[in-house]
């Protein structure tokens, strides 16, 4: 059996006295796409940050590409990318300059034009602080694509985007799937995102409440919401 890209066992994270996440067991193989669903504060972002090596677990273990993030974060970071709520951008720099900074640090050619074209942006020279939220989101996607990750961790891909942008994200996720990228997506748009994934995990109050094939995720989500309300 091939080594899972992500392996978590009894994974948990505490902030102060509060457990934000607990009892997560997960194996994700190369090329699999997992949807994380749940209400705000359910633990989705915490789980993505644990997988990204930005956070250390308070309990349990996690291995990414078979490596221990506590000891080999540097090697792991060469192979993954995270799209988070924050855009990870320098507000005073232009979009192309932001991409150039990342490209040089990860050893890619520093021409940002192909990456900007891929996310539907022009190489505008004005600082990104003057850009709309949707344009920044697209630039964050360009930043992620530029890293050519084997594991893409994507938190709320549809947030701040207009309906055209939603369709564009769908296309991008399909493109990543066909390229064999392992993807974990956290989204509130369960119907939409589940169609692009194979598996789904529902988190509530930091605990896994349901997991299964993604085609059953919309029904599981509806049942959960009805019970919860």
């Amino acid at each position: 059996m091939p080594e899972p890209v992500v392996r978590a066992r009894d994974l948990g994270r505490r902030f102060g006295g509060r457990w934000a996440l607990g009892r997560v067991d997960l194996d994700l193989l190369q090329g699999e796409r997992l949807l994380l669903m749940g209400r705000n504060g359910g633990g989705k972002t915490t789980l993505l940050r644990l997988f990204s090596t930005l956070l250390a677990p308070s309990r349990g273990t996690v291995a990414i590409f078979g490596l221990d993030p506590a000891r080999e974060a540097y090697r792991i970071r060469r192979r993954l990318a995270l799209l988070a709520h924050l855009p990870f951008l320098y507000e005073d720099l232009s979009g192309p300059d932001n991409l150039r900074v990342v490209a040089r640090l990860v050893g890619r050619a520093d021409d940002p034009a192909p990456w900007l074209a891929r996310v539907g942006l022009d190489p505008r020279p004005d600082p990104v602080r003057t850009w709309s939220a949707g344009m920044r989101k697209r630039l964050s996607f360009a930043r992620l694509l530029l890293q050519e990750p084997e594991l893409a961790l994507i938190d709320e891909p549809y947030g701040q985007l207009d309906p055209d942008g939603h369709a564009w994200v769908d296309g991008l996720l399909k493109e990543m799937a066909s390229a064999g990228t392992t993807v974990i997506v956290a989204s509130h748009l369960v119907d939409r995102a589940s169609a692009l994934c194979q598996r789904a995990l529902l988190l509530h109050d930091g605990l896994p409440r349901w997991s299964g094939p993604s085609d059953q995720a919309p029904r599981a989500w509806t049942c959960f919401q009805e019970r919860a309300s």
Binding site: L54, L93, D110, D111, E148
Partner: protein, 233 residues
């Protein structure tokens, strides 16, 4: 997921790329640097007017006031250097790249040192005019003391600026943490600058410069090691 690949961004090149990035960000935020220069120049003006027209008094206090102005401006400069990193989560984004915290520290400290030296380059000639001072020592020695003194401010300042970057009261907290630590290099800088301005009949300059070098080596080594811990906090 294919795209244009190049071979750069590895090894020591990472440090240079990070310095380049910090200088680029500094350049795009140059309005803040102009504001800082204005603040530091205003401080010098206030000091010179407070002392009055007595040439001897102005002369005696010139180096101390120049370093007080530099210290004050450096605190703001250091704080701002990390505000831009925290805004938009840029620092977190950098941490997710294969970049070591040690490289992040030295790049940021070097960029801050360069910016502080530019500020000093504006401030000191003006101070020399305001305080009616013409250095008796060689200009190169003065530049050396200036660089060593600024380095003594920048290393712990960069560390503490990172530590306090996500704290709402950073502008208060940073000086409280930083000033006790930079008292020895600032004192040594003031004494060494005064000796270069007034003359050094007892040959004390070497001792003060040696003290500065010792503190710089200590701070630049220690802060580089501790920076990773600060980022994890």
């Amino acid at each position: 997921m294919t795209g244009p690949r190049g071979g750069r961004g590895k090894g020591s090149g990472t440090l240079l790329q990070l310095v380049r990035k910090d200088l680029l960000v500094g350049w795009h935020g140059r309005a803040r640097l102009v504001g800082l220069s204005t603040y530091a120049v205003t401080l010098l003006l206030v000091f010179s007017f407070a002392l009055g027209p007595d040439t001897a008094t102005l002369h005696d206090h010139a180096s101390a006031y120049a370093w007080v102005a530099l210290l004050s401006a450096s605190t703001l400069l250091l704080a701002q250097s990390f505000l831009q990193e925290v805004e938009g989560g840029a620092l977190e984004g950098l941490l997710l790249l294969p970049v070591s915290p040690v490289a992040l520290f030295y790049a940021k400290a070097l960029a801050n040192l360069l910016l502080l030296l530019v500020l000093a380059g504006v401030l000191l000639p003006l101070g020399a005019v305001l305080f009616d001072v013409s250095p008796s020592g060689p200009p190169l020695a003065l530049a050396g003391i200036l660089a060593l003194g600024c380095a003594g401010l920048v290393a712990p300042g960069t560390l503490y600026a990172a530590l306090t970057a996500r704290v709402a009261s950073q502008q208060v907290l940073l000086p409280v943490l930083l000033f006790p630590l930079v008292v020895p290099p600032v004192l040594a800088s003031v004494k060494a600058t005064a000796l270069l301005v007034d003359g050094d009949p007892m040959g004390q300059l070497g001792a003060w410069a040696g003290l500065l070098v010792a503190f710089d080596v200590l701070y630049w080594s220690l802060c580089g090691v501790l920076f990773g811990r600060v980022l994890e906090a």
